[in-house]
């Protein structure tokens, strides 16, 4: 049905109607998220009652409570939301495009690439010189993008499908982890402890400044993703089918993957490689939405919810603070194994 005067993709594909179950899922998850935010804002060194919380959010009430809610908990909750959303959307996109539930940025070594770049900057910076002045977030972003580019080139797979990319990505992740581990042994033991925490993903002692780049990234890339959503939905079908609809499959795939890598790298730069959020969010979103593709908005909300819950538990459940990545890894990794054996229902069509 393509015409030579096609004004664009949107004119060719049927306008997507919001699917009822997805909408319900989005609303429900958003409500759940709001509730969790309120709970998270009430928990801390001393729990805050709802009435006091409401006052504190307006800046009134006991000074210590206002401080705790507005200066300590609120930035952290906001950061958890944006980081989780970024990871969730990134995971959902790459899983859709690569048509494989295992193909998420954290598994493919994007996180590892970002982490290696950060630890390298810390280690090389400790010798003095200009490298130490590179901001950590920039290092993470460069590392993530470089890793993605390298994997794409090495996979030598023009269609960017197939499991070869998966193998290459995981191998790169192993190699990069080796490099990171070496770098860790080179720096002072105190730095290593801090780096290790960072490498597992932690929201500790983070503030508004850390959330800002991620928020801006989401503000720019999420609308873009939604606009392209119906196109990405087309990608779950075979290339011939989608091309027949005029979808430039190759180009679309690359664009969506770049968005995914950017979001994952931004999130990693703010909170470290919080493990498995990207992997899990998309899959959960797909299941609760009851659709064969991964709705990006739902994936983002799911990711935000996961990170917020994990971080709140990590900081309140024990007398000392655990990094959030430890919790997500302990829960997410068994899920990864479960995913492995619960393979595709139909060959190649389930993201």
């Amino acid at each position: 049905m393509s015409t030579s005067t096609a004004p664009g993709i949107r004119a060719i594909l049927p306008r997507p109607r919001p699917r009822r179950r997805v909408v319900i899922a989005v609303v429900t998850t958003a409500a759940l998220l709001l509730l969790t935010c309120l709970v998270a804002l009430s928990l801390g060194d001393r729990a805050t009652a709802p009435a006091a919380l409401w006052e504190a959010l307006q800046g009134r009430g006991a000074e210590n409570t206002v401080y705790a809610v507005l200066e300590v908990r609120l930035p952290r909750v906001v950061l958890a939301l944006v980081v989780g959303a970024a990871f969730g959307i990134a995971g959902g996109l790459s899983q859709s495009v690569l048509r494989n539930p295992l193909a998420s940025p954290d598994v493919l070594g994007i996180g590892a690439g970002a982490s290696t770049a950060v630890v390298a900057v810390i280690a090389i910076g400790s010798l003095g010189g200009p490298v130490g002045a590179v901001p950590i977030p920039v290092a993470a972003l460069v590392g993530g993008l470089a890793a993605a580019a390298l994997i794409a080139v090495l996979a030598r797979d023009r269609s960017l499908r197939g499991r070869r990319i998966l193998l290459i990505g995981i191998a790169m992740s192993t190699a990069l982890t080796g490099v990171t581990q070496y770098l860790l042994t080179r720096i002072d033991v105190y730095d290593a402890q801090r780096s290790a925490v960072w490498l597992t993903g932690s929201l500790n002692a983070r503030g508004w400044a850390d959330a800002l780049p991620v928020a801006i990234g989401l503000a720019v890339l999420l609308p873009l993703t939604l606009v392209l959503a119906h196109t990405s939905r087309a990608l779950i079908f075979d290339d011939d089918v989608a091309s027949g609809w005029g979808v430039r499959t190759g180009r679309m795939r690359v664009v969506l993957l770049v968005i995914s890598v950017c979001l994952a790298a931004l999130a990693t730069s703010a909170a470290g490689p919080v493990a498995f959020v990207a992997l899990v969010s998309g899959q959960v979103a797909r299941r609760i939405g009851g659709v064969p593709d991964i709705p990006p908005l739902l994936a983002g909300l799911t990711g935000a919810l996961i990170v917020l819950v994990a971080d709140t538990v990590a900081r309140t459940a024990l007398p000392f603070q655990l990094p959030v990545g430890v919790l997500t890894a302990l829960v997410g990794a068994p899920y990864l194994l479960y995913l492995l054996q619960r393979r595709r229902r139909t060959n190649g069509s389930t993201p």
Binding site: V72, V118, S126, P135, L141, V189, L212, V254, V258, F320
Partner: protein, 347 residues
């Protein structure tokens, strides 16, 4: 790769990089301060930096302004309105300083793998604030301190420094260890006990010289060169002049062997190079678990007998790592002198 127009992608990527670059430099895991910790470039300036710090107020006069490190590499002033009653300390050095001045802190933060306080310090009812790299600001605020003491090395995130300053007047020194005397005076200035601190330091220095004489006497009138060896996970160090123990040995008038007589924190060696510990006396300690280090390989190993002090029958002694390398304050220094005195007496 499918052919695509590069420029939209490039715009996307550049935008992403620009976004993160826009974040103020205070975000993220903090700029790295290891160069201040172990030498290399920033190190020599640290002493000069420390010399600028302190207060111009008369002894005991409040309110007062204290010059200290307010952001990485930046000296600024902290106002202290009244004599602090509720002090929070963020590391062992500050804790030692407070205990020496007879002040009980209300909250103590510490390194991640140690308890709240080392055994030789008595801390009363202080609250354990956990590791200093995972501070709970709510908890600190709820304790309602009127003074927070720490070092810029440990609180290396400028954002965190600012957050602490918002809670209570915060006085930070550049780094622990080699600057322990300057830090003691700085902390004392913050609590208005400058005179007491100076007296304690004078007493220490007198005693150090006396113990040094004891050592020389025990060594038949010749000052022995002293090697300070330390086993750590994955590294072996010979501590040099710009370290806590380096300053104590210098105060005692005890010379260092050539390898260790350098203006650095320490010299890194390998197990095979252990014979670089050339001192007439060899004192060694182990940080952390011994089996995480090469202590057993070296001390029970074949090269130990070739080490100068061992071969020539000088003093070879294991010392308490917690005081000799981590003491970081005047109480710790006095304990080191106690040990040195005992070693000299046994000769």
């Amino acid at each position: 790769m499918p052919r695509i127009r590069p420029w939209p992608l490039a715009v996307l990527v550049v935008a992403a990089v620009a976004l993160t670059g826009c974040a103020p430099a205070t975000s993220g895991a903090g700029t790295n301060q290891s160069n201040v910790a172990t030498g290399q470039d920033g190190f020599q300036d640290v002493r000069a930096l420390a010399a600028q710090l302190g207060t111009d107020a008369a002894p005991g006069e409040f309110p007062r302004a204290i010059r200290n490190i307010v952001a990485n590499g930046e000296v600024g002033e902290t106002e202290i309105p009244a004599k602090p009653q509720r002090v929070i300390v963020l590391d062992t050095g500050e804790l030692d300083n407070m205990v020496a001045l007879g002040i009980e802190p209300i909250g103590i933060a510490h390194p991640a793998d140690t308890g709240m306080a080392p055994d030789y310090l008595d801390v009363g009812d202080a609250v354990d604030l956990g590791p200093y790299d995972a501070l709970d600001l709510e908890q600190i605020k709820n304790l309602e301190p009127d003074l927070i003491l720490g070092t810029s090395l440990r609180i290396d995130d400028d954002g965190l420094k600012k957050q602490l300053q918002d809670i209570a007047p915060t006085v930070l020194s550049p780094r622990p260890g080699v600057l322990w005397k300057e830090n003691f005076l700085l902390n004392a200035a913050a609590v208005g006990e400058e005179e007491q601190a100076q007296q304690l330091l004078d007493a220490y220095e007198e005693r150090a010289a006396a113990v040094g004489d004891d050592v020389v006497e025990a060594n038949e009138g010749v000052a022995p060169t002293v090697s300070m060896l330390r086993f750590m996970a994955g590294r072996i160090r010979l501590y040099a002049n710009d370290s806590f123990i380096g300053t104590i040995l210098a105060d005692a008038g005890l010379p260092r062997p050539k390898t260790e007589d350098v203006n650095e924190l320490a010299v890194e060696i390998s197990a095979e190079e252990i014979t670089k510990a050339e001192g007439d006396w060899l004192l060694w300690g182990t940080y952390g678990q011994p089996d995480a280090t090469e202590q057993a390989t070296v001390v029970d190993g074949p090269l130990w007998g070739q080490v100068n002090a061992v071969a020539k029958g000088g003093v070879v002694r294991e010392v308490n790592d917690g005081t000799w390398y981590l003491g970081l304050g005047v109480e710790g220094a006095q304990l080191v002198l106690d040990d040195l005195e005992a070693i000299a007496a046994e000769r």
